[in-house]
């Protein structure tokens, strides 16, 4: 009896060790590149060309890499602000447009409904790199070229398939009775939507927001082509200049610092709102 329990206990222990051994190994693989890059970004300029062995600074923490990064374009602060304006603007517009559209698709019947829905989803299938030139020309006609607002509109459009799909599902999940009860109480249309339904689809909105933020923050190709003055460049465009090097030599310290500036906000946003992100992702995957 005792020995059997002992064997079982030992097997459980071995199991646990194996489990966490694998877990820690896997976690290391996924975390290490961030960690090494982040640590290396604090090395002084004299060390930035050396291999990261070890990755941490050997002669005291230094902000050289960030200072050099700041020397590109109009300064890293300005470009970070541009990226923030574009990303947050994209979030606000995406939420507004997709909540309305999701509600419309979920609650109303109208002609060509399915065709229009498929049209929105079809946006996913075109590599937008291939429609960039027409996009540029259209924005120029609208007087919106080289403007962060124009870029925002393009990003919102790119976000729509996912967001409208998400929001339609979110509204579908709200029981019709709640809406009818509110209608009886006299709430109509936009008021009904904002006061009664919005709080119920908050998780969906959180999901849509996170995806919109991350995609707008990280996008570089459209920004590269559609923006044409230094002052308007977003962070990823700044990074192409850093990657191209200056005076014929790439400064890896500046690259690491730039990656840190681009990556850290994404990680923070995700870690704070992880619950909503995952919930939305799974809801989308199950549907």
């Amino acid at each position: 009896m005792r020995t059997r329990r002992e064997i079982r206990a030992r097997k459980a222990l071995r199991d646990r060790v194996a489990f966490h051994g694998v877990g820690i190994g896997t976690a290391f693989f996924f975390l290490a590149p961030f960690g090494i890059g982040f640590l290396a970004s604090f090395r002084p300029n004299s060390e930035s060309g050396l291999p990261p062995l070890p990755p941490w600074p050997l002669s005291g923490i230094s902000f050289d890499a960030y200072r050099i990064l700041d020397g590109f374009g109009s300064g890293v602060w300005q470009h970070t602000m541009n990226s923030l304006v574009v990303s947050l603007g994209t979030v606000v517009l995406t939420v507004a447009v997709s909540v309305l559209a999701g509600y419309g698709f979920s609650r109303y019947r109208f002609p060509l409904k399915n065709a229009l829905f498929v049209l929105i989803i079809a946006t996913l299938m075109i590599p937008f790199q291939s429609i960039l030139t027409p996009l540029f020309i259209i924005l120029a006609r609208l007087g919106l070229n080289n403007s962060l607002f124009g870029l925002m509109l393009v990003y919102v459009t790119l976000q729509l398939p996912f967001s409208v799909f998400m929001m339609r599902n979110a509204f579908d999940a709200v029981p019709k009775e709640i809406e009818e009860a509110a209608r009886i109480d006299g709430a109509r249309d936009l008021r009904l939507l904002v006061r009664v339904l919005l709080p119920l689809v908050m998780p969906g909105i959180a999901t849509v927001s996170i995806f919109a933020f991350l995609n707008a923050w990280n996008e570089f190709f459209a920004a590269l082509v559609l923006l044409s003055s230094n002052d308007n460049y977003t962070l990823p465009v700044l990074m192409t200049a850093v990657r191209a090097g200056r005076l014929g030599a790439i400064n890896w310290g500046a690259v690491q610092a730039g990656v840190a500036v681009m990556v850290v906000p994404c990680l923070i946003v995700f870690l704070l709102l992880q619950r909503y992100y995952m919930r939305g992702l799974m809801a989308g995957a199950v549907k």
Partner: protein
């Protein structure tokens, strides 16, 4: 609420694209040093007109400018890599500057290869802004350490190879030679073709209608570089350097490298610790040559600010403007005052000026497709011929692909 929000965002977006009237917008590519930026700074400090400079990553400048033209949103003027001037002029996108240019008293002493490239069907669309020639540099400190005479410039590739081996023998991460061999067509046309030009061969026929890549001279040049690689005198990073580390010489651990005259300024101001000498790049048979590169100043067709643009260009051609340019590493564009401009500056810049006399520049409307694109046949050829196993294949592939691009463009 939503409407107001939209309105404010809209206002913000529009507010960004408003520009004041007497400001010239101008683009310049990254990576050509600070000389032009300093001229603009001086001009903005002195004059009434302002020049608003936008730095565009060098690899994206051409497509960005072309897209901007397509959208009617191009800058007033542009510092354009001179090799692209024919293509843009041919497309009818540039302002004809012939009359004004010829009226300049110093017109005949402006850098000839720039004016040649700036000319299309007898009209002048581009004028020299910065001149850059390719030259050969060696690190005197490493020469000394390797037991070589630091004051003796190598005259042949045999000498260079022998020196490279001796420098490599110092061990560690000290290497004898460097080039950007990972698909940087621009770097290699600049530093490598002088080897065949010096011997009288070329990669394109004079009328640019035929690819003439496979010549005995080019085979010899390729062998020289292959040999340098085989003898481990070139760092491993070279094979994948697409140009971002073009100036690896500045790290002080490279014994010899063909670089641009711009780099003299960079080395003197940014890396005063490096003691270096410069000479002309020897051809495969010892006769030197060089690539005359740099930027042409071009004006977008139909700009309303033509007069202001001309005024600014006259400033850069003035003694003051030329001196600022030279101080920050660009060679004088005006031959007539070159001596005076370079007075008191680093004597090595004179080698850069000497190179102009033996320098060539290919004239083709398809420079980007053939040569500069990192996915073009020339860039591919360099990597395959120098680093690959099948040299013959590299030659025949590149030769036929270049010819097919030329034919497709006819």
């Amino acid at each position: 609420m939503l409407k107001r929000l939209l309105a404010t965002t809209l206002a913000y977006g529009l507010g960004l694209s408003v520009a004041s009237a007497e400001t010239i917008s101008m683009w310049v590519r990254t990576g050509i040093g600070d000389s032009f930026k300093e001229v603009v700074k001086a001009y903005n400090a002195a004059g009434e007109d302002k020049v608003e400079l936008t730095e565009v990553p060098f690899s994206e400048l051409v497509q960005k400018y072309a897209t901007a033209i397509a959208g009617g949103q191009a800058p007033d003027a542009l510092s354009l890599d001179l090799i692209y001037t024919p293509a843009f002029a041919a497309a009818g996108q540039l302002e004809d500057l012939s009359e004004w240019a010829k009226s300049l008293p110093y017109f005949s002493s402006l850098s000839p290869s720039h004016v040649k490239l700036g000319t299309y069907e007898d009209k002048i669309y581009g004028l020299p802004l910065s001149v850059e020639t390719s030259i050969f540099a060696w690190n005197k400190e490493l020469y000394r350490k390797a037991g070589l005479d630091p004051e003796k410039a190598p005259k042949t590739w045999g000498e260079i190879t022998a020196n490279a081996e001796k420098i490599r023998a110092l061990g560690g991460d000290t290497y004898g030679f460097y080039f950007s061999g990972g698909g940087c067509g621009g770097c290699m046309i600049f530093t490598f073709t002088p080897l065949v030009w010096g011997a009288g061969a070329d990669i394109l026929s004079p009328d640019s209608k035929k690819a003439t890549l496979d010549t005995p001279e080019m085979r010899k040049a390729v062998d020289i570089y292959r040999n340098l690689v085989a003898k481990d005198t070139v760092p491993a990073g070279s094979a994948s350097d697409n140009g971002v580390n073009f100036l690896t010489f500045t790290n002080g651990k490279i014994g010899q490298q063909s670089i641009g005259a711009f780099a003299i300024g960079t080395l003197v101001t940014q890396h005063p610790e490096i003691d270096f000498g410069v000479t002309l790049i020897p051809g495969v048979d010892g006769k030197p040559s060089s690539f005359a590169g740099g930027d042409n100043f071009v004006v977008t067709k139909g700009t309303p600010k033509l007069e202001a643009v001309k005024k600014f260009l006259e400033f850069t051609y003035s003694m003051e403007g030329q001196k600022i340019m030279a101080k920050y590493g660009s060679l004088p564009t005006r031959g007539d005052i070159a001596g005076e401009v370079l007075e008191g500056l680093d004597p090595r810049l004179k080698v850069g000026i000497e190179a102009i006399a033996v320098a060539k520049t290919p004239y083709t409307l398809q420079f980007n497709d053939l040569i500069n694109s990192s996915n073009g046949p020339w860039a591919t050829f360099i990597n395959a011929a120098i680093y690959g196993d099948d040299v013959d294949g590299a030659f025949s592939n590149a030769q036929s692909e270049m010819q097919s691009i030329i034919d497709a463009g006819q």
